[in-house]
């Protein structure tokens, strides 16, 4: 009887949907790839010149690895000389083709003009640069005497396509090199990897192309301040096919004989460069094995790479710091939903000095604060009982806005700050957070520096520069040169080749590093409203969703560790944006900063 009853219960259980049961993890299904691909078509028989030109332009947007189909639109001579890899021109709306002298079609010679407005260019080194201005190139067609087919015999070098096609076909990947200009590394002996973003074609074997690009060296802009662990002349061994990781994510990279003599330490740095570079690509690479001269040089796993070298995104902040309602320095554990701030130990947290803005060193042992009037910069230790001391730097600006900016620490313990005094503007570096401030030379910089943020790698600096009514975001590289000038003891520090990362924004109000080569920017376009967005250091827009809109943002901070939530100071106080959620209020206060 009991068995029968049990059977009935069991059957009843089977016959209805379960409302309880075991806990089980959900495997995330990979997001389906809905990318649109264009399939290039070879020229059809007796195609008109217009069809030839349009077909050629269309073939440029396809995934054809070597543009074989596009070359079929060219005369054999032009096909030989045309080098699509030289450059990529991105137009806002795709190239238009206008026929010149259309009435002379029957003469066997015809010209078209490709038109459009330039948005950006990608040079031979695959380095992206924003561009503007009209695009105007000539395309010339001839009619083959024998076959009677129209073909292009004069074609501009490189590839041209519209913006959305560019976004579909290309992706930004960071190459990693090691910072070379640092006189010393503070706290850690690991070489600091610097991201060097380049654009590669998304569907055309990106792994191999990235390896080749990495071996080819850094882009020109970054070259003076970085070094590559790969010996000069290192390349993939000849005849190497496409590189693909095996089932366990292990990628074998055969190198030529130039790399055959490197030691294990150097080799591991090389492997770390590769692993950092390939980390975002699919299929994922978990381990790199370098081979040269017929033998294995070394093998390094992804975890091993973080022991060999470091990069900014690997540093996880412990606390989020801000200035609380009593103008003291307070902190909240980062990455938690904690909303209860604690004053930091040490003089800045004790309320002896009212603060306007702060910066905490990346090791979170010392902090710098600018007084509420913006006049004085204090540097002190975050240890209870230490004293505040005298200000290390003072400004003589007339108003609060004309005095010191918020300071910024670099990875080596240097403290950067700018003086906004219109009479004596300047960018200063305090080595080790103290001593005599060094005035940093900024050749080519017009206008006043309104904000300073140094990248974790210490070789790039982001400045908000005010020039008239316009405040733009500029990225420069930091060169330290012991010979070129300055005193004997101190190297001259120069910020060189400042370039705009957000040419379209005319009012940048706040910014912060948000990754190895990424910043989060609050600004306003011409005629637009204030918005918050991510930008790459090369000026391109990264392929990530922008943060949710927030009004009245006065300050923003993000960690280079992308897991830490974005934090902003807005009219609602200090708010943060956890991943996948809306803005949340944290607490009252101003000037939130992550270490750095």
């Amino acid at each position: 009887m009991a068995y029968a009853a049990g059977g009935v219960v069991l059957l009843a259980g089977c016959a209805s949907m379960p409302d309880s049961g075991d806990l089980r993890g959900v495997e995330s299904t990979p997001r389906q790839d809905t990318q649109v691909r264009v399939f290039a078509m070879p020229p059809s028989e007796d195609a008109t010149p217009t069809q030839i030109v349009q077909g050629f332009l269309e073939a440029l947007t396809s995934d054809d690895p070597d543009y074989k189909t596009a070359r079929q639109y060219l005369t054999p001579q032009a096909a030989k000389t045309w080098r699509p890899e030289l450059s990529t021109t991105v137009l806002s709306n795709g190239p238009g083709a206008r026929a010149d002298r259309p009435d002379r079609e029957d003469t066997g010679s015809l010209s078209y003009t490709l038109t459009g407005s330039k948005v950006a260019t990608v040079d031979e080194q695959q380095s992206f640069a924003p561009a503007s201005g009209p695009y105007d190139k000539l395309v010339h067609l001839t009619k083959d005497a024998k076959s009677g087919q129209w073909r292009i015999d004069v074609v501009p070098q490189g590839v041209v396509m519209g913006k959305s096609d560019f976004q579909r076909n290309y992706m930004s990947v960071n190459k990693y090199y090691f910072a070379s200009n640092t006189t010393r590394t503070a706290g850690t002996a690991l070489p600091m990897a610097v991201a060097d973003p380049v654009y590669v074609r998304r569907h055309v074997d990106p792994t191999t192309r990235m390896v080749n690009s990495l071996l080819g060296g850094p882009t020109t802009w970054l070259d003076p301040v970085v070094r590559s662990s790969f010996p000069t002349g290192t390349a993939l061994r000849e005849g190497t096919g496409p590189l693909t990781p095996d089932d366990r994510g292990r990628l074998t990279v055969p190198l030529n004989d130039s790399a055959a003599e490197v030691g294990t330490g150097r080799c591991e740095e090389m492997a770390a460069q590769l692993l950092f570079t390939l980390r975002g690509l699919s299929p994922a690479v978990d381990e790199v094995e370098l081979r040269a001269g017929g033998g294995q040089l070394c093998s390094l796993t992804r975890e091993g790479a973080e022991i060999v070298a470091t990069r900014g995104a690997l540093h996880q902040p412990e606390y989020l710091y801000f200035v609380d309602g009593e103008r003291r320095l307070a902190r909240i554990a980062a990455g938690t939903s904690d909303t209860d701030p604690d004053p930091v130990p040490g003089p800045l947290g004790e309320g002896g000095t009212t603060l306007r803005s702060v910066a905490v060193a990346r090791d979170e042992r010392s902090a710098a604060g600018v007084g509420v009037d913006g006049k004085s910069l204090y540097v002190t230790s975050l240890v209870a009982g230490s004293s505040l001391g005298e200000p290390v730097l003072s400004s003589r600006g007339k108003t609060e806005d004309d005095r010191l900016t918020a300071p910024s620490w670099d990875a080596q313990g240097g403290l950067w700050v700018a003086d906004r005094d219109p009479d004596a503007p300047g960018l200063y570096l305090l080595e080790d957070g103290g001593g005599e401030p060094v005035e940093v030379r900024t050749p080519g910089l017009d206008g006043r520096v309104r904000a300073v943020r140094v990248a974790a790698d210490g070789v790039r600096i982001a400045l908000v520069v005010e020039e008239g009514e316009r405040r733009s975001l500029l990225i420069g590289r930091i060169e330290r040169n012991t010979e070129a000038g300055g005193t004997d003891e101190r190297p001259a520090v120069t910020v060189l080749e400042l370039r705009s990362a957000t040419p379209e924004l005319e009012q940048v109000t706040a910014m912060s590093w948000a990754g190895d080569s990424r910043l989060v920017v609050v600004g306003r376009e011409e005629g637009g409203v204030e918005q918050m967005k991510y930008v790459e250091v090369d000026g391109s827009t990264p392929d990530v969703t922008p943060p949710a809109a927030l009004t009245g943002v006065k300050a923003v901070t993000a960690s280079e560790d992308e897991l830490a939530p974005l934090v902003a100071y807005s009219v609602d106080g200090i708010v943060r944006l956890p991943s996948g959620a809306q803005w949340q209020k944290v607490t009252e206060g101003t000037a939130p900063v992550y270490p750095g």
């Binding site: 389906q32 809905t34 990318q35 069809q51 349009q54 795709g94 959305s164």
Partner: protein
């Protein structure tokens, strides 16, 4: 009956030779195959095929046998097959309906989605025209606008609406002009392979939307899958047509369908198993009583008439059992009635004989007195006295024979067997017949008496048999020699008596052993023996477990052969002397008239009666007789006194020259053909046997009474 331990003997000797016959061809087939394979090298195909067929069939034979014999297997297998068929049919119908239902829903949803998509594409093209129309006015009317990017953006925006639910593909129209000709596809779809060519042609010709089923082929390693593709021709901003396709993968539908399939298959399997089990149970319920009835019937037919079926319940099976039992009971009753009747008749004959004996003794004594004094009478009276004495002698011997026969019938005859030398018996008989032979002018020769011929036998009975045979031979030998041949071989001894008289007509060889048989029934039995001599001789031979057989041919004389086992219990396997003598006409190639004859077959042999004593068992029990067709049958009512005289051992009436040779004769003769079933009944000559002998009908008279000669 229990005394006739060899009740089924008539059947058994019939069976025995059959087996070798059956086995032999099999062996010879192998031999033939072997020879064929070796000698007929040119036609190797057929033996190989035959060998293969046999090889294939061999393991199937037990299965076939089981199939033929087992009704349960048949019913269960048929049920399984039929239910499987129904389940399959049902499965096809249900799956077809589910498939149609799924497809209908999917097609409707897909069509509305695709229609919306086509509208969006059209709208975007119009918007693009209106936007760019202001900027770049193409004065020359040429397509100034690049649709390359527009088209890619369109595909992307369309496909982003349904990740995984559908993919979007554009293809150039057949008369592609302008830009944007390159196929575009979302979701790694291979556009040209996934869109069927017929659909493309249709879209080219017709501006309305069309749909088709296809397989989506992916450029990545992903497996292709069935899909519904809906396409339409749409204009781009330059008013150039292109083809826009929506591809809806039917993955989900296929999953649902395979779920239904799996469910149906499982359910079907269960149903088939259930039906099979039900059939097995039901058939078992029916077959078990039927098998029991078959077993009981077999036992009944084997004579165990008291067997009954167990009947439980009141259902159809129980009724069958009851009817069966009733039938068995009635049979048992009838059989015992008939047995009683038969026993009564035998006792009556025996009693009559005994009762006649007492007055006969008195009559005899009186007749002897009269006979002694006959010389005192007048000649007529004296003659009457002599006749009286003669007929009294005859009466006495007839009575004695009848008593003897009734003793046999009653099973009262006892065999007093002891080792005897048959030569002594033969000598005694021959010397006893010497006076008669001299009277007839016949010489009796004894052949084969150099060696002792010893057998365990009853000397008195053997002597009686042989005397009967020798006297008969002398009487019917027409003055010619009579040869008595003795032989011993194997486990048997034989004595054959050969005469060269009128012989036997076809069919007579068996009938000579019948009681009171005579060739011409019209003639009164006034002379000779009682007509029971050979019958008694046959019974004597049977008592020994031996054979008494006759052979004869018209005009060629006859031969009677007595074969006895060397030891009393041993069954006979053959006889040392062939039944048909070597000097028969046929063997010499002569016809009835003594002329050489090629094709005629005048020879008539009859291996009549004498068989094991049990041979009369079945005859006495007619209801038990039928089982073996080979067994001779007789109408009991046609037999005088009792039904036991029916003998079967007639054997072949036409023996081939070869068969008599050796000791195989009795077997061959006994089993051969339909003649073994011939009925022998007094006074009814077998018409069939009469036929060939018609030519010598004129001599019938001379042979009259041949069989009745005795003693």
């Amino acid at each position: 009956m229990s005394g006739d331990s060899a009740a089924s003997a008539p059947g058994r000797p019939g069976d025995r030779p059959e087996r070798p016959v059956g086995r032999k061809p099999a062996g010879s087939r192998w031999g033939r195959l072997f020879e064929g394979g070796l000698l007929e090298g040119g036609v190797q195909g057929s033996p190989v095929i035959r060998l293969f067929m046999r090889w294939v069939r061999r393991p199937l034979l037990p299965v076939m046998r089981l199939w033929r014999r087992n009704i349960q297997l048949k019913v269960v297998a048929t049920t399984l097959l039929m239910s499987l068929g129904v389940v399959l049919l049902l499965g096809f119908v249900v799956i077809g309906q589910v498939r149609n239902g799924l497809l209908d829903a999917k097609v409707k949803a897909s069509q509305s989605q695709a229609t919306g998509g086509f509208a969006v594409a059209k709208q975007q093209a119009e918007e693009a025209v209106s936007v760019t129309g202001d900027e770049e006015t193409a004065a020359d009317g040429r397509p100034s606008q690049s649709v390359i990017q527009w088209m890619s953006d369109l595909v992307e925006s369309l496909s982003s609406g349904g990740q995984g639910a559908f993919d979007v593909v554009t293809l150039p129209a057949a008369d592609a002009s302008g830009s944007g000709r390159g196929p575009r596809a979302s979701g790694q779809v291979n556009p040209t392979a996934s869109v069927p060519a017929e659909l493309r042609e249709r879209i080219d010709e017709n501006t309305s939307a069309a749909q088709s089923y296809t397989r989506i082929v992916y450029d990545t390693g992903k497996e292709s899958q069935p899909a519904l593709v809906i396409g339409k021709q749409v204009n781009d901003p330059n008013r150039d047509p292109y083809q826009l396709y929506y591809l809806f993968p039917l993955t989900q539908e296929e999953k649902s369908l395979s779920l239904v399939k799996g469910t149906l298959a499982t359910a079907g399997l269960f149903v088939v198993v259930l039906l099979g089990a039900i059939a097995w149970l039901v058939v078992r319920q029916v077959v078990t009583p039927v098998r029991m009835a078959a077993g009981i019937a077999e036992r009944l037919s084997a004579g165990r008439l008291q067997e009954r079926m167990k009947v439980t319940g009141e259902d159809d099976i129980a009724r069958l059992g009851e009817a069966f039992n009733k039938m068995a009971q009635n049979l048992q009753l009838k059989i015992s009635q008939l047995e009683d009747l038969s026993r009564m008749q035998r006792r009556f004959v025996s009693d009559v004989s005994h009762e006649l004996r007492t007055p006969l003794t008195t009559v005899r004594m009186a007749a002897d007195v009269i006979h002694e004094a006959r010389e005192d009478f007048d000649p007529v009276t004296a003659r009457s006295a002599e006749l009286l004495a003669d007929q009294l002698d005859r009466f006495e011997s007839l009575l004695a024979d009848l008593l003897e026969i009734s003793r046999f019938d009653a099973g009262a005859a006892a065999l007093e067997a002891e080792p005897i030398d048959l030569r002594d018996v033969v000598r005694r008989v021959v010397s006893g017949a010497e006076p008669l032979a001299e009277r007839k002018g016949t010489r009796v020769k004894v052949v084969g008496d150099q060696q002792p011929v010893v057998a365990e036998a009853d000397a008195r009975r053997v002597e009686r048999v042989l005397r009967n045979l020798v006297v008969n031979a002398v009487e019917h030998g027409e003055g010619r020699d009579v040869v008595v041949r003795l032989a011993a071989a194997g486990g048997a001894v034989a004595v054959a008596v050969r005469d060269y008289g009128v012989g036997l007509k076809p069919g007579e060889a068996t009938r000579v052993f019948s009681r009171f048989w005579r060739a011409d029934p019209a003639r009164a039995r006034t002379t000779g023996g009682t007509g029971l001599g050979l019958s008694i001789a046959l019974e004597d031979a049977r008592l020994h477990g031996g054979w008494l057989q006759a052979w004869g041919e018209p005009g060629g004389g006859s031969q009677f052969r007595l074969t006895l086992p060397r030891t009393a219990d041993e069954p006979l396997r053959g006889s040392p002397i062939p039944l048909e003598p070597k000097d028969s006409r046929r063997n010499r190639g002569l016809d009835d008239a003594g002329l050489p004859s090629g094709g005629r077959h005048g020879g008539k042999s009859a291996t009549a009666p004498a068989r094991q004593p049990g041979a009369d068992g079945p005859a006495r029990d007619p209801f038990a007789l039928p089982p073996t067709a080979v067994t001779p049958t007789a109408d009991p009512t046609a037999l005088p006194g009792n039904g036991a005289r029916v003998v079967a051992r007639t054997g072949s009436t036409r023996m081939t020259p070869g068969t008599p040779a050796g000791d195989g004769t009795p077997h061959g003769g006994g089993t051969g053909d339909g003649t073994a079933t011939r009925r022998t009944s007094r006074g009814e000559p077998d018409s069939g046997a009469e036929g060939p002998g018609g030519g010598s009908a004129s001599r019938d008279g001379e042979r009259d009474g041949e069989a009745s000669r005795g003693r």
